[in-house]
């Protein structure tokens, strides 16, 4: 499951030897994130984001479990219990702001992690399973984040739940029945709030389980790297510890700096003011919007405004779910044997367009529905689907990649040959 030159765990202390014989847990850790896991030596800072996502999940579980000790999942008192946490629980404001902004940080680092995978072709053989499990984690995260946003039982919580569960009523014939069954009523109420709380507590642990599979699947081929070239010799790798634990330390520091700035200085920047108004089924907010991390998908949903065989709403729901589910097929849509976009000029250009496209979708998702923004959303949604479903399969056939380095070590030494000259010139 690893390279032949991987270091082996040799317990020195008698206690560790005893433990290793009975339960080789230290050995597992050593091989997973210790010196026993050889990693390409040329990873850049984009490879920090997997560890950061793991850290974000851990922080969410710690703050979440503590919040659950004070929160009451009952429609009559949920909003009030959140205010009690904010005002009367020791450091309750810190726990709640850390949890609310922690969700944003988690999604942010995961989006960068996914973007890294797209750019460097980490989804390609032999890492398809790593990618598939990653998409499963992403789906679980989205469900968890949505249900967590409902719990404070503010106006956006309630109406967000109303809109999202309303998607299911787009299913022909049985849709409305399914929606009522999911909610446990005709509209979001105590039954819905209770089951959302239950699932919101459960799914992070399911996610943690899938993350273990994700890392397990990763350790079979080993980590990808910025050149996308396979590891060929021991010279291409360094042990994970201490090399990447040290580098991840820097990433963790920067992550915490951004996180702290959000919690302590702008805790409500990413939230919506309406969620400080208690849920009221009789008063619809002027402008229902989801959290920032769902805006691109919300824009796709809203862009389908025309009936064609199927009603517009069903098209929107299909497209919105499709926009995420299509990621499952990515390893087979992109047939280019070259992984890294550094060596794929055309793919790289289209990927930059996709990045801008998703940012536009994010803007449209949060904007008021004016003809200009709707138009923008429709064009951007079309590009999103064309990019993955049409352009990617065609480009990977026609593209002529740039020559690849023969090995990771060669690429690194080439880079330093250039850099070394400038450095010595500067020293003189």
């Amino acid at each position: 499951m690893s390279f032949p030159w991987a270091k082996h765990y040799e317990p020195k202390q008698p206690l560790m030897r005893w433990l290793d014989e009975k339960l080789p847990l230290p050995r597992l850790v050593y091989n997973a994130v210790g010196a026993g896991y050889p990693v390409p030596r040329n990873l850049n800072y984009f490879w920090n984001f997997g560890v950061l996502a793991g850290l974000a999940l851990t922080l969410q579980i710690v703050t979440g479990v503590t919040l659950a000790m004070h929160y009451a999942a009952n429609g009559a008192v949920a909003f009030q219990s959140v205010e009690q946490i904010m005002r009367d629980v020791n450091a309750g404001w810190f726990l709640r702001y850390a949890h609310a902004n922690g969700a944003s940080m988690f999604l942010l680092v995961v989006y960068i992690h996914i973007g890294r995978g797209l750019y460097y072709g980490s989804y390609k053989a032999p890492r398809e399973m790593v990618w598939l499990l990653g998409v499963v984690i992403f789906l679980l995260m989205m469900a968890t984040a949505f249900m967590g946003y409902v719990l404070p039982w503010g106006q956006m919580s309630f109406w967000g739940a109303q809109v999202i569960t309303g998607f299911f009523s787009a299913i022909p014939v049985v849709g409305e029945t399914v929606r009522i069954w999911l909610l446990g009523g005709y509209a979001p109420d105590n039954a819905a709030l209770n089951r959302f709380f239950s699932l919101h507590y459960l799914l992070p642990f399911v996610t943690a389980g899938v993350i273990i599979l994700h890392i397990w699947a990763l350790h079979i081929p080993g980590s990808n790297n910025p050149t996308g070239v396979d590891v060929k010799s021991e010279a291409d790798t360094v042990p994970f510890h201490p090399y990447y634990t040290a580098k991840d330390g820097v990433g963790v520091g920067v992550f915490l700096l951004v996180f702290a700035a959000l919690i302590f200085f702008s805790p409500n920047m990413l939230g919506h003011p309406d969620n400080y108004v208690e849920a009221n089924p009789l008063s619809t907010p002027a402008h229902i919007v989801p959290e920032w991390y769902f805006l691109p998908f919300y824009a796709i949903l809203k862009s389908f405004t025309a009936d064609f065989i199927l009603p517009a709403k069903l098209w929107g729901v299909l497209a919105m779910f499709g926009s995420i589910l299509l990621l499952f097929f990515l390893p087979w849509l992109d047939t280019s044997p070259v992984r890294s976009a550094n060596f794929r000029p055309k793919y790289r250009a289209f990927l930059v367009v996709l990045l801008v496209d998703v940012l536009i979708l994010g803007y449209v998702g949060g904007a008021e529905a004016k003809p200009q923004t709707v138009l923008m959303g429709q064009i951007a949604s079309a590009y999103y689907f064309l990019h993955f479903l049409v352009i990617l399969p065609l480009v990977s056939r026609s593209e002529r990649p740039r020559p690849l380095p023969t090995s990771i070590t060669e690429a690194v030494l080439d880079k330093h040959a250039g850099l070394g000259l400038t450095k010595s010139a500067m020293a003189n």
Binding site: A246, V250, A261, F385, P393, V412
Partner: protein, 282 residues
């Protein structure tokens, strides 16, 4: 096969989006969106210049106390403050005895139960009580206010965009103005209906709340500050900023400490990284 189906699916979504786009453009031409009165006449909130604003802001306790006086003498006639307790007033500089007196003398009593008969009764407020609502229930509140419901003010500064400045602007001296003639001319349908009041900072321009701060000196400040309408509006905004975020100072203080601590951590982590990698080109 996967790629063939993918291209078909991609084409289908693009085709339907094309139809939708056609519809959007057609509607835009035949039925362009009309300008709205809100869009043209709504004003952005003015800066209340509160000392609590900004990354390291702190409350001006004297101002927050003045704001509390405005709430007590003006706002509390209609608006509840249900998430705030009398004891919380100690955090804005009132002594324990003062808080006890404020609670005891509060005009509206706390709903209670007669200990002998078990019938509904009221009793004097204690420091541990939350501010009582001026109305027994929503029906009573609406009945007294031309069918409008005065919202609870505890969280108002966070429940509106730019909340602190919004509150200041909404009750400030230039909020309630006569409806501009140009508005009635351009949008005859938007004339302020009877029972509502034109307010150029309110989302739909017509607010049910009558002008709350009508004259200078409406409140006589305990600290001798001249109670102009502008001053009262700023002060009540400062008070409601505190009720919405009572832990703001602790948060800013902890934030500064946390950022300094993490910055040192970053520096050390960077040093460790450089040290570990010094002999490995990467």
């Amino acid at each position: 096969m996967v790629r063939f189906i993918a291209i078909l699916v991609g084409a289908a979504f693009t085709f339907v989006l094309g139809l939708a786009l056609w519809g959007t453009v057609a509607t835009w031409i035949t039925d362009p969106p009309l300008p709205s009165a809100e869009h043209e006449f709504l004003h952005h909130p003015k800066d209340a210049e509160l000392s609590s604003a900004g990354y390291f802001g702190k409350f001006d306790r004297r101002q927050v106390q003045r704001g509390f006086q405005v709430y007590k003498e003006v706002c509390s006639a209609c608006h509840s403050l249900k998430y705030v307790a009398f004891r919380d007033l100690e955090h804005i500089g009132y002594s324990e005895a003062e808080v006890k007196a404020i609670a005891n003398q509060w005009a509206i009593e706390q709903p209670s139960v007669n200990a002998e008969t078990g019938e509904a009764a009221t009793r004097k407020n204690l420091p541990s009580d939350h501010f009582p609502s001026p109305f027994a229930n929503e029906v009573a509140a609406r009945a007294a206010n031309n069918n409008a419901l005065p919202p609870d003010l505890s969280l108002m500064a966070k429940a509106r965009h730019d909340g602190s400045n919004y509150i200041y602007s909404l009750v400030g001296p230039d909020a309630y103005v006569p409806q501009p003639a140009a508005l009635v001319r351009e949008f005859p349908g938007s004339k302020t209906p009877p029972g509502l009041h034109y307010n150029q900072y309110f989302a739909n321009l017509n607010i049910a709340m009558p002008p709350p701060l009508t004259s200078d000196g409406q409140v006589t400040y305990a600290d001798g500050t001249r109670a102009t309408r502008n001053q009262m509006a700023k002060d009540v905004s400062a008070f409601l900023t505190w009720t919405a975020e009572p832990n703001l100072e602790a948060r800013h203080g902890a934030g500064l400490a946390a950022v300094i601590f993490i910055a040192i951590f970053c520096f050390l982590a960077w040093g460790a990284y450089q040290n570990v990698w010094r002999d490995v080109k990467h």
